[in-house]
Amino acid sequence: MNFLLSFWRSTVGAKVVVAVTGLILLGFTLFHMIGNLQVFLGADEMNTYGAFLHKPEILWAGRAVVFGSIGLHIVAQAKLVAATAIARPTGYRKWNAKASTIYSRTMKYTGPIILIFFVLHLLNLTTGAEFGFYVHPEPYLQDGNVPRAFENLTSLLGNPLWATFYIVANLALASHLWHGAFSMTKTLGLSGVRQLRLARVIASVFTLTVTGGNIAITTACVLHLVK
């Protein structure tokens, strides 16, 4: 197992862990956004989907993958950031960006914003009722003790403050993915010039699709367009 330890200790290895877990999370964000588009189909569709996701096998497998990935993503990244933080003890009096972007340079800030959002999001819509964190509509559960996803979502995001917060969090997500979804391909070794050009396009379309979809859902709820 020495080779795994050596891989993890190296900067390239730890970055590959960030990239692979990032890739899994990209899959999750797409799946999650598409699932939630069902809010436009109405309460029945959405709640049936919610009940399906609450089958224990699916629920716990999904949670294991997502929580595991987020955990590893953060641990590996924190290790890298901590080592790199001391790589330049004295900074420049002047420094000009030549190719880096505001998106690439703020990854270590947009990441934690997404994390805070993620925790609040779980409190809002997964465990919130138990903790009294958010007042859910009555009755909170549908048949089979499954949360009534549609009513919970529309009443939460019907609140302009929560809706604003969700939109801001998605802008942070957009910034993170704009760099991350492309950066990942190089970290994992994609080195062809044509292939990287295509990867840039796919990363951009992906980012705009996921965050655009999330923001569309939020906007529709706050404007009470879905009932």
């Binding site: 020495n2 080779f3 330890l5 050596s6 891989f7 200790r9 190296s10 900067t11 390239v12 290895g13 730890a14 970055k15 590959v16 890298l80 080592a83 790199t84 001391i86 790589a87 330049r88 003890p89 004295t90 900074g91 420049y92 009096r93 002047k94 420094w95 000009n96 960006a97 030549k98 190719a99 880096s100 972007t101 690439s104 340079r105 990854m107 760099h179 492309f182 950066s183 391909t185 190089k186 970290t187 994992l188 070794g189 994609l190 080195s191 062809g192 010039v193 990287l196």
Partner: protein
Amino acid sequence: MRLTLHIWRQKAPTARGGKGDFEKYEVNDVSEHMSFLEMLDVLNERLETEGKDPIAFEHDCREGICGSCGFVINGSAHGPVPRTTVCQLHMRSFKDGDELVLEPWRARAFPILRDLIVDRSSFDRIIQAGGYVSTNTGSAPEANSVPVTKDSADRAMDAAACIGCGACVAMCPNASASLFTAAKVAHLNLLPQGQPERLIRTEKMVLQMDAEGFGHCTNHGDCSAVCPKGISVINIAQMNREYIEATLFSSPREGDTGDGA
């Protein structure tokens, strides 16, 4: 033209606890035909006649090929002109009255020796870790018996253009040496002569790069943008791929201690 320079002055090496600060110099009568280093030569002559310490900066070929020179001018490594070392930078790139800040490369793995000179022996140790090919000596093989595709030869030549000046590290927001290391890895890994040691080379050079205390790569791309030789970041992607292959997908190799050292 007249210029105001703010130059980092540091007497003692950082490794021996030396600290520095900026000092301000006014230089008059700068000809636009001078190179940047000639302008500093003129300033140094004046300082010497005034009995002051001249400004220490590194230089050798002054032709943009040896990789000795380099410092940061107003936030850009080697100054404002792309694909140019500071020895090949001319004063016509500046205008009368400009105020310029001159700083050494700043990275923990490049400790300052004096003024604008940094110690880049960390680069030498990365090369020592794997930047070589081992061949049995004997009579030279028939040239055409070792075919190299045009594409590999071109890409190896592009990577080999690296002069090891350190501008990539200097401009990287993370002070990462990934572009330098990747160029050296790619240059040998792309050629037939580099094949026997391809994986062990990649692994050892990456680990040495880490051990020297450089930062990690986050694919910002500032390194390649300031590289006087235009080394591409695709070399970094290739190094990542070969490192993954070396550590996760290959059997232990000869000379591999198994602990990744």
